[in-house]
Symmetry: C2
Protein backbone atom coordinates (compact mmCIF):
# COMPACT_ATOMS: atom_id res chain seq x y z
CA UNK A 1 0.00 0.00 0.00
CA UNK A 2 1.15 3.53 -0.82
CA UNK A 3 -0.17 6.31 1.38
CA UNK A 4 0.39 10.06 1.13
CA UNK A 5 -0.94 11.97 4.18
CA UNK A 6 -0.90 15.78 3.87
CA UNK A 7 2.39 15.79 1.96
CA UNK A 8 3.94 19.23 1.36
CA UNK A 9 7.04 20.16 -0.66
CA UNK A 10 8.25 23.72 -0.29
CA UNK A 11 11.20 25.23 -2.12
CA UNK A 12 12.76 28.40 -0.79
CA UNK A 13 14.55 30.54 -3.39
CA UNK A 14 16.10 33.71 -1.81
CA UNK A 15 13.04 35.32 -0.20
CA UNK A 16 10.37 33.57 -2.25
CA UNK A 17 8.60 30.39 -1.10
CA UNK A 18 7.28 27.98 -3.74
CA UNK A 19 4.69 25.41 -2.62
CA UNK A 20 5.30 22.69 -5.20
CA UNK A 21 2.93 20.38 -3.25
CA UNK A 22 0.32 21.53 -0.78
CA UNK A 23 -1.34 18.94 1.47
CA UNK A 24 -1.43 16.09 -1.04
CA UNK A 25 -3.28 13.07 0.36
CA UNK A 26 -4.18 9.81 -1.42
CA UNK A 27 -3.81 6.04 -1.17
CA UNK A 28 -2.87 3.55 -3.90
CA UNK A 29 -3.37 -0.19 -3.54
CA UNK A 30 -1.06 -2.86 -4.93
CA UNK A 31 -1.73 -3.63 -8.59
CA UNK A 32 -3.45 -0.35 -9.43
CA UNK A 33 -2.80 1.53 -12.73
CA UNK A 34 -2.99 5.25 -11.93
CA UNK A 35 -2.52 8.27 -14.25
CA UNK A 36 -1.44 11.65 -12.85
CA UNK A 37 -2.36 14.71 -14.94
CA UNK A 38 -2.18 18.47 -14.47
CA UNK A 39 -0.77 21.67 -15.96
CA UNK A 40 2.96 22.23 -16.44
CA UNK A 41 4.44 23.19 -13.05
CA UNK A 42 1.54 21.79 -11.00
CA UNK A 43 3.69 19.38 -8.94
CA UNK A 44 3.46 16.03 -10.81
CA UNK A 45 7.20 15.26 -10.98
CA UNK A 46 7.54 16.37 -7.35
CA UNK A 47 4.94 13.74 -6.35
CA UNK A 48 6.75 11.05 -8.35
CA UNK A 49 10.15 11.96 -6.88
CA UNK A 50 8.75 11.60 -3.33
CA UNK A 51 6.96 8.34 -4.24
CA UNK A 52 10.25 7.06 -5.71
CA UNK A 53 12.19 8.00 -2.53
CA UNK A 54 14.34 10.41 -4.56
CA UNK A 55 13.18 13.42 -2.54
CA UNK A 56 11.78 13.85 0.96
CA UNK A 57 8.61 15.79 1.69
CA UNK A 58 8.89 19.08 3.67
CA UNK A 59 6.09 17.77 5.91
CA UNK A 60 3.45 15.04 5.96
CA UNK A 61 3.74 11.26 6.03
CA UNK A 62 4.64 8.91 3.16
CA UNK A 63 4.05 5.21 3.84
CA UNK A 64 5.43 2.72 1.30
CA UNK A 65 4.49 -0.93 1.95
CA UNK A 66 3.19 0.33 5.30
CA UNK A 67 6.67 1.52 6.27
CA UNK A 68 7.08 5.18 7.24
CA UNK A 69 9.83 6.59 4.98
CA UNK A 70 10.52 9.44 7.41
CA UNK A 71 12.13 6.96 9.79
CA UNK A 72 14.48 5.61 7.12
CA UNK A 73 17.93 7.02 6.48
CA UNK A 74 19.21 7.69 2.95
CA UNK A 75 20.85 4.27 2.64
CA UNK A 76 17.63 2.45 3.57
CA UNK A 77 15.68 4.60 1.10
CA UNK A 78 18.20 3.78 -1.64
CA UNK A 79 17.96 0.05 -0.89
CA UNK A 80 14.15 0.17 -0.96
CA UNK A 81 14.26 2.12 -4.20
CA UNK A 82 16.73 -0.19 -5.99
CA UNK A 83 14.86 -3.36 -5.03
CA UNK A 84 11.23 -2.30 -5.35
CA UNK A 85 10.92 0.65 -7.74
CA UNK A 86 11.46 1.13 -11.47
CA UNK A 87 11.68 4.83 -12.45
CA UNK A 88 11.25 6.34 -15.93
CA UNK A 89 12.53 9.93 -15.66
CA UNK A 90 11.02 12.87 -17.58
CA UNK A 91 14.49 13.68 -18.94
CA UNK A 92 15.49 9.95 -19.28
CA UNK A 93 18.59 10.33 -17.01
CA UNK A 94 20.71 7.84 -18.99
CA UNK A 95 24.42 7.57 -18.17
CA UNK A 96 26.13 9.27 -21.14
CA UNK A 97 29.20 7.01 -21.25
CA UNK A 98 27.30 3.72 -21.09
CA UNK A 99 25.74 2.07 -24.11
CA UNK A 100 21.99 1.43 -24.26
CA UNK A 101 22.61 -2.16 -23.13
CA UNK A 102 24.85 -1.12 -20.21
CA UNK A 103 22.28 1.47 -19.09
CA UNK A 104 19.53 -1.17 -19.04
CA UNK A 105 21.78 -3.58 -17.09
CA UNK A 106 22.26 -1.12 -14.21
CA UNK A 107 19.35 -2.20 -11.96
CA UNK A 108 20.54 -5.82 -12.36
CA UNK A 109 24.07 -4.82 -11.32
CA UNK A 110 22.60 -3.36 -8.11
CA UNK A 111 20.64 -6.59 -7.62
CA UNK A 112 23.87 -8.64 -8.00
CA UNK A 113 22.63 -10.57 -11.03
CA UNK A 114 25.44 -12.41 -12.89
CA UNK A 115 26.88 -11.07 -16.18
CA UNK A 116 25.27 -13.62 -18.54
CA UNK A 117 21.80 -13.31 -17.04
CA UNK A 118 22.14 -9.50 -16.99
CA UNK A 119 22.93 -9.41 -20.67
CA UNK A 120 20.14 -11.71 -21.76
CA UNK A 121 17.51 -9.95 -19.59
CA UNK A 122 18.65 -6.54 -20.91
CA UNK A 123 18.62 -7.66 -24.56
CA UNK A 124 15.09 -8.97 -24.02
CA UNK A 125 13.98 -5.66 -22.45
CA UNK A 126 15.48 -3.64 -25.32
CA UNK A 127 13.74 -5.96 -27.79
CA UNK A 128 10.42 -5.30 -26.09
CA UNK A 129 10.81 -1.53 -26.66
CA UNK A 130 11.89 -2.02 -30.29
CA UNK A 131 15.60 -1.24 -29.93
CA UNK A 132 17.35 -4.56 -30.74
CA UNK A 133 19.39 -2.80 -33.41
CA UNK A 134 20.58 0.07 -31.18
CA UNK A 135 21.97 -1.82 -28.16
CA UNK A 136 25.56 -0.63 -28.64
CA UNK A 137 24.74 3.05 -29.11
CA UNK A 138 25.62 5.70 -26.54
CA UNK A 139 22.74 8.04 -25.55
CA UNK A 140 24.24 10.78 -27.76
CA UNK A 141 23.96 8.36 -30.69
CA UNK A 142 20.24 7.79 -30.15
CA UNK A 143 17.17 9.84 -31.08
CA UNK A 144 15.05 11.43 -28.31
CA UNK A 145 12.40 8.75 -28.46
CA UNK A 146 15.02 5.99 -28.58
CA UNK A 147 16.62 7.37 -25.39
CA UNK A 148 13.20 7.42 -23.78
CA UNK A 149 12.66 3.77 -24.70
CA UNK A 150 16.06 2.81 -23.24
CA UNK A 151 14.95 4.53 -20.01
CA UNK A 152 11.71 2.51 -20.07
CA UNK A 153 13.58 -0.76 -20.66
CA UNK A 154 15.92 0.06 -17.76
CA UNK A 155 12.96 0.73 -15.43
CA UNK A 156 11.29 -2.59 -16.28
CA UNK A 157 14.27 -4.96 -16.59
CA UNK A 158 14.23 -6.37 -13.04
CA UNK A 159 10.43 -6.53 -12.88
CA UNK A 160 9.99 -4.12 -9.93
CA UNK A 161 6.64 -4.30 -8.04
CA UNK A 162 6.20 -0.51 -8.37
CA UNK A 163 6.77 1.38 -11.64
CA UNK A 164 6.84 5.19 -11.67
CA UNK A 165 6.79 6.67 -15.19
CA UNK A 166 7.12 10.42 -15.84
CA UNK A 167 5.70 11.24 -19.32
CA UNK A 168 6.82 7.82 -20.77
CA UNK A 169 5.45 8.54 -24.27
CA UNK A 170 6.25 12.28 -24.54
CA UNK A 171 8.86 11.80 -27.30
CA UNK A 172 7.20 8.92 -29.11
CA UNK A 173 5.03 8.79 -32.22
CA UNK A 174 1.62 7.22 -31.74
CA UNK A 175 2.67 3.73 -32.85
CA UNK A 176 5.72 3.57 -30.57
CA UNK A 177 3.58 5.06 -27.77
CA UNK A 178 0.98 2.32 -28.29
CA UNK A 179 3.72 -0.38 -28.06
CA UNK A 180 4.88 1.05 -24.74
CA UNK A 181 1.34 1.18 -23.35
CA UNK A 182 0.82 -2.48 -24.37
CA UNK A 183 4.00 -3.35 -22.45
CA UNK A 184 2.79 -1.45 -19.37
CA UNK A 185 -0.62 -3.12 -19.53
CA UNK A 186 1.02 -6.58 -19.65
CA UNK A 187 3.17 -5.78 -16.63
CA UNK A 188 0.23 -4.39 -14.69
CA UNK A 189 -1.79 -7.50 -15.57
CA UNK A 190 0.93 -9.53 -13.79
CA UNK A 191 0.26 -7.53 -10.62
CA UNK A 192 2.83 -4.70 -10.73
CA UNK A 193 1.61 -1.28 -9.61
CA UNK A 194 1.98 1.51 -12.21
CA UNK A 195 1.80 5.24 -11.50
CA UNK A 196 2.24 7.25 -14.70
CA UNK A 197 2.37 11.02 -15.34
CA UNK A 198 1.08 12.05 -18.75
CA UNK A 199 -0.15 15.11 -20.64
CA UNK A 200 -1.88 12.95 -23.22
CA UNK A 201 -5.56 12.35 -22.50
CA UNK A 202 -5.55 9.29 -24.78
CA UNK A 203 -2.76 7.72 -22.72
CA UNK A 204 -4.35 8.71 -19.38
CA UNK A 205 -7.64 7.09 -20.43
CA UNK A 206 -5.84 3.75 -20.54
CA UNK A 207 -5.15 3.84 -16.80
CA UNK A 208 -7.91 2.74 -14.43
CA UNK A 209 -7.76 5.78 -12.14
CA UNK A 210 -6.85 9.46 -12.44
CA UNK A 211 -5.24 11.80 -9.91
CA UNK A 212 -5.47 15.41 -11.13
CA UNK A 213 -3.26 18.22 -9.82
CA UNK A 214 -3.50 22.00 -9.99
CA UNK A 215 -1.04 24.41 -8.34
CA UNK A 216 0.33 21.73 -6.04
CA UNK A 217 -3.12 20.60 -4.84
CA UNK A 218 -5.00 17.42 -5.68
CA UNK A 219 -8.26 18.38 -7.35
CA UNK A 220 -9.41 14.87 -8.30
CA UNK A 221 -8.24 11.58 -6.88
CA UNK A 222 -10.46 8.79 -8.20
CA UNK A 223 -12.14 7.33 -11.26
Amino acid sequence: LISFDRIRKIYRLSEIEIKALDDASFQIEEGEFVAIMGPSGSGKTTILNILGCLARPSSGEYLLDNKNTEQMNDRELARLRNSKIGFVFQNFNLLPRFSALENVELPLVYANVGKKARESLSLKALGEVGLSDRTGHLPSQLSGGEQQRVAIARALVNNPPLILADEPTGNLDSNSGREIMKLLHNINYQGNTIIMITHDQGIADQARRLIALKDGKIVKRDG
Copy 2:
Protein backbone atom coordinates in the same frame (compact mmCIF):
# COMPACT_ATOMS: atom_id res chain seq x y z
CA LEU B 1 14.35 30.02 -49.73
CA ILE B 2 15.45 26.75 -48.12
CA SER B 3 16.40 23.92 -50.44
CA PHE B 4 17.43 20.34 -49.61
CA ASP B 5 18.72 18.44 -52.67
CA ARG B 6 19.32 14.72 -52.12
CA ILE B 7 20.61 15.23 -48.58
CA ARG B 8 22.07 12.16 -46.90
CA LYS B 9 23.32 11.72 -43.32
CA ILE B 10 25.19 8.52 -42.58
CA TYR B 11 26.56 7.52 -39.20
CA ARG B 12 29.23 4.83 -38.99
CA LEU B 13 29.39 2.92 -35.71
CA SER B 14 32.19 0.27 -35.72
CA GLU B 15 31.21 -1.80 -38.79
CA ILE B 16 27.56 -0.80 -39.01
CA GLU B 17 26.31 2.03 -41.25
CA ILE B 18 23.16 3.90 -40.20
CA LYS B 19 21.41 5.96 -42.88
CA ALA B 20 19.69 8.57 -40.71
CA LEU B 21 18.66 10.49 -43.87
CA ASP B 22 18.48 9.00 -47.34
CA ASP B 23 18.13 11.36 -50.32
CA ALA B 24 15.90 13.95 -48.65
CA SER B 25 14.78 16.62 -51.12
CA PHE B 26 12.32 19.48 -50.54
CA GLN B 27 11.99 23.26 -50.79
CA ILE B 28 10.49 25.68 -48.25
CA GLU B 29 9.58 29.26 -49.13
CA GLU B 30 9.91 32.24 -46.81
CA GLY B 31 6.96 32.59 -44.43
CA GLU B 32 5.79 28.98 -44.63
CA PHE B 33 4.60 27.03 -41.53
CA VAL B 34 5.69 23.43 -41.99
CA ALA B 35 5.20 20.41 -39.67
CA ILE B 36 7.58 17.42 -39.82
CA MET B 37 6.21 14.10 -38.56
CA GLY B 38 7.39 10.51 -38.53
CA PRO B 39 8.15 7.54 -36.26
CA SER B 40 10.77 7.72 -33.51
CA GLY B 41 14.20 7.33 -35.12
CA SER B 42 13.03 8.26 -38.64
CA GLY B 43 15.45 11.20 -39.06
CA LYS B 44 13.44 14.28 -38.01
CA THR B 45 15.98 15.78 -35.58
CA THR B 46 18.73 15.02 -38.10
CA ILE B 47 16.87 17.15 -40.70
CA LEU B 48 16.44 20.00 -38.21
CA ASN B 49 20.10 19.90 -37.14
CA ILE B 50 21.21 20.22 -40.80
CA LEU B 51 18.63 22.98 -41.46
CA GLY B 52 19.92 24.80 -38.36
CA CYS B 53 23.57 24.50 -39.52
CA LEU B 54 24.39 22.44 -36.42
CA ALA B 55 25.40 19.41 -38.49
CA ARG B 56 26.63 18.96 -42.04
CA PRO B 57 25.11 16.47 -44.49
CA SER B 58 27.21 13.44 -45.58
CA SER B 59 26.26 14.33 -49.18
CA GLY B 60 23.75 16.46 -51.06
CA GLU B 61 23.25 20.21 -51.23
CA TYR B 62 21.64 22.47 -48.60
CA LEU B 63 20.89 26.01 -49.77
CA LEU B 64 19.83 28.55 -47.12
CA ASP B 65 18.78 31.97 -48.49
CA ASN B 66 20.16 30.70 -51.79
CA LYS B 67 23.63 30.33 -50.27
CA ASN B 68 25.30 26.92 -50.49
CA THR B 69 26.21 25.93 -46.92
CA GLU B 70 28.86 23.47 -48.16
CA GLN B 71 31.06 26.39 -49.17
CA MET B 72 30.87 27.99 -45.73
CA ASN B 73 33.35 27.27 -42.95
CA ASP B 74 32.23 26.61 -39.37
CA ARG B 75 32.55 30.27 -38.36
CA GLU B 76 30.36 31.46 -41.24
CA LEU B 77 27.78 28.78 -40.40
CA ALA B 78 27.79 29.89 -36.74
CA ARG B 79 27.32 33.54 -37.74
CA LEU B 80 24.44 32.65 -40.09
CA ARG B 81 22.88 30.53 -37.36
CA ASN B 82 23.14 33.15 -34.60
CA SER B 83 21.70 35.93 -36.75
CA LYS B 84 18.99 34.15 -38.71
CA ILE B 85 17.85 31.04 -36.83
CA GLY B 86 16.01 30.39 -33.56
CA PHE B 87 16.31 26.76 -32.41
CA VAL B 88 14.10 24.96 -29.86
CA PHE B 89 15.96 21.73 -29.00
CA GLN B 90 14.21 18.41 -28.24
CA ASN B 91 16.14 18.24 -24.95
CA PHE B 92 15.92 22.03 -24.32
CA ASN B 93 19.73 22.48 -24.11
CA LEU B 94 19.58 25.19 -21.43
CA LEU B 95 22.82 26.27 -19.76
CA PRO B 96 22.57 24.74 -16.26
CA ARG B 97 24.36 27.55 -14.42
CA PHE B 98 22.36 30.39 -15.97
CA SER B 99 18.95 31.49 -14.73
CA ALA B 100 15.90 31.34 -17.01
CA LEU B 101 16.38 35.05 -17.76
CA GLU B 102 20.09 34.69 -18.53
CA ASN B 103 19.38 31.72 -20.83
CA VAL B 104 16.82 33.74 -22.79
CA GLU B 105 19.25 36.70 -23.06
CA LEU B 106 21.93 34.61 -24.80
CA PRO B 107 20.93 35.24 -28.47
CA LEU B 108 20.84 38.97 -27.67
CA VAL B 109 24.35 38.78 -26.18
CA TYR B 110 25.55 37.29 -29.49
CA ALA B 111 23.74 40.09 -31.34
CA ASN B 112 25.52 42.73 -29.18
CA VAL B 113 22.28 44.13 -27.73
CA GLY B 114 22.84 46.37 -24.66
CA LYS B 115 22.13 45.10 -21.11
CA LYS B 116 18.94 47.10 -20.51
CA ALA B 117 17.34 46.21 -23.83
CA ARG B 118 18.37 42.56 -23.37
CA GLU B 119 16.69 42.36 -20.01
CA SER B 120 13.44 43.98 -21.09
CA LEU B 121 13.18 41.87 -24.30
CA SER B 122 13.89 38.69 -22.31
CA LEU B 123 11.36 39.51 -19.58
CA LYS B 124 8.77 40.12 -22.33
CA ALA B 125 9.60 36.77 -23.99
CA LEU B 126 9.33 34.90 -20.66
CA GLY B 127 6.00 36.63 -20.02
CA GLU B 128 4.70 35.43 -23.38
CA VAL B 129 5.41 31.79 -22.40
CA GLY B 130 3.83 32.23 -18.95
CA LEU B 131 7.00 32.25 -16.84
CA SER B 132 7.14 35.77 -15.36
CA ASP B 133 7.33 34.28 -11.87
CA ARG B 134 10.22 31.89 -12.64
CA THR B 135 12.79 34.22 -14.25
CA GLY B 136 15.42 33.76 -11.52
CA HIS B 137 15.25 29.95 -11.42
CA LEU B 138 18.06 27.74 -12.66
CA PRO B 139 17.01 24.95 -15.06
CA SER B 140 17.29 22.42 -12.20
CA GLN B 141 14.76 24.51 -10.29
CA LEU B 142 12.19 24.34 -13.09
CA SER B 143 9.72 21.65 -14.14
CA GLY B 144 10.17 19.87 -17.51
CA GLY B 145 7.54 21.94 -19.25
CA GLU B 146 8.89 25.16 -17.71
CA GLN B 147 12.37 24.35 -19.08
CA GLN B 148 10.83 23.73 -22.47
CA ARG B 149 9.11 27.11 -22.37
CA VAL B 150 12.39 28.86 -21.44
CA ALA B 151 13.93 27.18 -24.49
CA ILE B 152 11.06 28.49 -26.64
CA ALA B 153 11.42 32.03 -25.26
CA ARG B 154 15.16 31.90 -25.97
CA ALA B 155 14.55 30.82 -29.58
CA LEU B 156 12.09 33.66 -30.22
CA VAL B 157 13.65 36.56 -28.29
CA ASN B 158 15.57 38.18 -31.16
CA ASN B 159 12.79 37.58 -33.69
CA PRO B 160 14.81 35.36 -36.06
CA PRO B 161 13.45 34.99 -39.66
CA LEU B 162 13.67 31.16 -39.39
CA ILE B 163 12.42 29.20 -36.36
CA LEU B 164 13.23 25.50 -36.01
CA ALA B 165 11.28 23.79 -33.21
CA ASP B 166 11.88 20.14 -32.23
CA GLU B 167 8.80 18.81 -30.37
CA PRO B 168 8.03 22.26 -28.79
CA THR B 169 4.94 21.02 -26.90
CA GLY B 170 6.13 17.52 -25.88
CA ASN B 171 6.27 18.31 -22.16
CA LEU B 172 3.30 20.66 -22.01
CA ASP B 173 -0.32 20.12 -20.98
CA SER B 174 -2.90 20.98 -23.61
CA ASN B 175 -3.52 24.55 -22.34
CA SER B 176 0.18 25.48 -22.20
CA GLY B 177 0.63 23.81 -25.60
CA ARG B 178 -2.20 25.91 -27.01
CA GLU B 179 -0.56 29.11 -25.69
CA ILE B 180 2.70 28.19 -27.42
CA MET B 181 0.94 27.45 -30.71
CA LYS B 182 -0.82 30.84 -30.53
CA LEU B 183 2.57 32.48 -30.08
CA LEU B 184 3.99 30.59 -33.08
CA HIS B 185 0.99 31.53 -35.23
CA ASN B 186 1.45 35.22 -34.35
CA ILE B 187 5.13 35.11 -35.28
CA ASN B 188 4.42 33.29 -38.54
CA TYR B 189 1.73 35.86 -39.35
CA GLN B 190 4.47 38.52 -39.17
CA GLY B 191 6.38 36.67 -41.90
CA ASN B 192 8.80 34.43 -40.00
CA THR B 193 9.28 30.90 -41.38
CA ILE B 194 8.50 28.06 -38.93
CA ILE B 195 9.56 24.43 -39.31
CA MET B 196 8.29 22.34 -36.40
CA ILE B 197 8.75 18.63 -35.55
CA THR B 198 5.86 17.11 -33.64
CA HIS B 199 4.36 13.73 -32.72
CA ASP B 200 1.00 15.30 -31.97
CA GLN B 201 -1.43 15.20 -34.90
CA GLY B 202 -3.47 18.03 -33.34
CA ILE B 203 -0.39 20.26 -33.30
CA ALA B 204 0.70 19.23 -36.82
CA ASP B 205 -2.76 20.06 -38.18
CA GLN B 206 -2.16 23.69 -37.22
CA ALA B 207 0.73 24.02 -39.67
CA ARG B 208 -0.10 24.69 -43.34
CA ARG B 209 2.08 21.93 -44.77
CA LEU B 210 3.33 18.51 -43.69
CA ILE B 211 6.59 16.72 -44.48
CA ALA B 212 6.39 13.06 -43.41
CA LEU B 213 9.45 10.87 -42.83
CA LYS B 214 9.92 7.11 -42.58
CA ASP B 215 13.30 5.36 -42.12
CA GLY B 216 15.21 8.46 -43.25
CA LYS B 217 13.16 8.92 -46.44
CA ILE B 218 10.57 11.59 -47.20
CA VAL B 219 7.27 9.86 -47.88
CA LYS B 220 5.10 13.01 -48.10
CA ARG B 221 6.20 16.54 -48.76
CA ASP B 222 3.16 18.68 -49.35
CA GLY B 223 -0.35 19.45 -48.21
